[in-house]
């Protein structure tokens, strides 16, 4: 039987992009949470963590309301890119991002905070700006933990089902990620396809998590 590998490639692409965005945004959020004191700091942390605990339907609902064509954000997107966001593979990236970001922020905050403060003091004492301190001292010292967090976020991005289904839909060859394709295959009684995809995605996730464990300095 001919197996359609499109869902796997799409999932990998979605995971890659969402991890990249999560890394950029997450590192920035983690830096703020780890270094700044402000009111509502723990509320922000909790809000970022929320997607970890809310049901996918709730998240999907929020995203639909937020990004649909008649919402301000949705209209903005359409004005810039010329086409709507929801029910495209890009919406799947947003869905995956929702899972990747909390993991990244949480781990990166812990990683940044675990860097011995005396190194940061030393860097400031030697005249380093906060920017240089972050890129040259704190980040390199937290590098392994953050890379582990990136791997974890990537693995998690591969696995989203519910939110993706709600905001990106199930359009074979366009928005159908592995998780959705497996659901489809099981529904249609296509056990060969389901089994193959299940095994492949499990193997990929296992590989990535092993990598994450090896990276984590313990």
């Amino acid at each position: 039987m001919q197996i359609d590998w499109f869902p796997l490639w799409l999932s990998l692409r979605v995971a890659f992009l969402s991890t990249a965005v999560a890394l950029a945004v997450g590192l920035w959020l983690a830096y703020i949470l780890a270094n700044r004191e402000f009111r509502g700091k723990e509320v922000l942390d909790a809000a970022v963590t929320l997607p970890l605990v809310l049901p996918p339907t709730v998240l999907g609902y929020y995203l639909l309301v937020l990004l649909a064509g008649n919402s301000p954000l949705g209209r903005l997107w359409e004005n810039i890119f010329g086409s709507p966001l929801v029910f495209t593979w890009k919406a799947a990236v947003v869905a995956a991002l929702l899972h990747a970001l909390p993991l990244l922020v949480k781990s990166a905050r812990a990683a940044l905070e675990s860097v011995d403060r005396s190194f940061e003091r030393a860097a400031r004492n030697l005249g380093a700006s906060e920017w240089r301190l972050f890129w040259r001292v704190t980040l390199p010292l937290a590098r392994r933990s953050i890379l582990a967090a990136v791997a974890l976020a990537f693995a998690r991005s591969l696995g989203d089902f519910g939110v993706t289904l709600m905001v990106a839909g199930n359009i074979p060859g366009r928005t159908q990620t592995v998780a959705v394709a497996i659901y489809d295959a099981v529904e249609a009684g296509n056990t060969t396809l389901a089994r193959t995809l299940v095994l492949v995605i499990s193997a990929v996730a296992l590989l990535i998590l092993t990598l994450a464990n090896r990276l984590n300095p313990r």
């Binding site: 005396s118 003091r121 030697l126 005249g127 240089r132």
Partner: protein, 356 residues
Amino acid sequence: MISARLRKTFPERPDSAPFSLELEFQAAAGVTVLFGPSGSGKTLTLDLIAGFVHPDDGRILLDDDILFDGAAGVSLPPQARNCGYVFQNYALFPHMTLRQNLEFAVERRPRLERHRRVNEMLERFRLGDAAGRRPHEVSGGQRQRCSIARALIGAPKLLLFDEPAQGLDAQLRSEFYEVLRQVRADFKTPMLLVTHDLDECFELGEEMLVLREGRLAQSGTPATILDQPANVDVARLLGVFNLIPAEIRALDPGRNTSKVQMGDHELDGPYFPGHFKGDRVTVCVRPERLSALERNGRPGANQIPAQLERAVEKPQWMRLEFAGGIAVDLARPDYERVRDTKDWVIEFPRESLRVL
């Protein structure tokens, strides 16, 4: 030249008692040691000067630069304070080689100058062979020298040392003292050195500030402080005195004499300015200033009979501990002469007596 007036209070927290620091001092070229027990505010003082902790109030003046002025609302960030800081654990960046650690400190300078300075420091501190290695790959002595080189490379106006010899073995410790003496000779930078080791104060310190519970308890040269502690608290901090309650029975400024009643015995001492007849005082005398001898009939002048409780071997001397908590340190040969004594007297040389 640094002159500082500092005030900092920490309110009580579930995990820590309240603490307040109020301190005013000046330090010129040479080594000034901040001596005190842990929790007396020594390291906090360094952190306030370096700008890691914000004082509640006060003023820090380094040469002509105002680093901090509470009243005027001036507070330079640590980056702009120009104070070299040698951290207790050195805080060398573990992911950089020794050379990169030095380069980090002069990154803003032009390339040629940067190069020259780094090479000069590597050479001066004998780090040439280890320059390409990371801190965990080099010896403790090299790490230590590198941390001093890194603190010095930016030509700071002040050097701060936080317990630099803490936890070092004897060999590294004396190496460090040697390096520091060299730095003192070569650079005209005032140095503030935090320690709770009295030997270190004498080994390195030209001036000494004794801190106790966030206050300056005494300042002066180590020798004068050891000769005349300002009060019983300072004497206790220094930890090298016999402290015996007594009463002044007579004072004669003309003949520079006094009589002090200690228990059942009266001792002759020098005149004690600032005290009155009848004052209840504490006699303060260092164990090595006393001598212990065999009693020969009636005790002589300034001799008190005493019961030996035990003799403790110290590296360079014998410490004899007598009933009543009086300790006497004798050199080995002196001890050998009296070791079989059963009936002891302790002799208090007239000039050795200090009262607090």
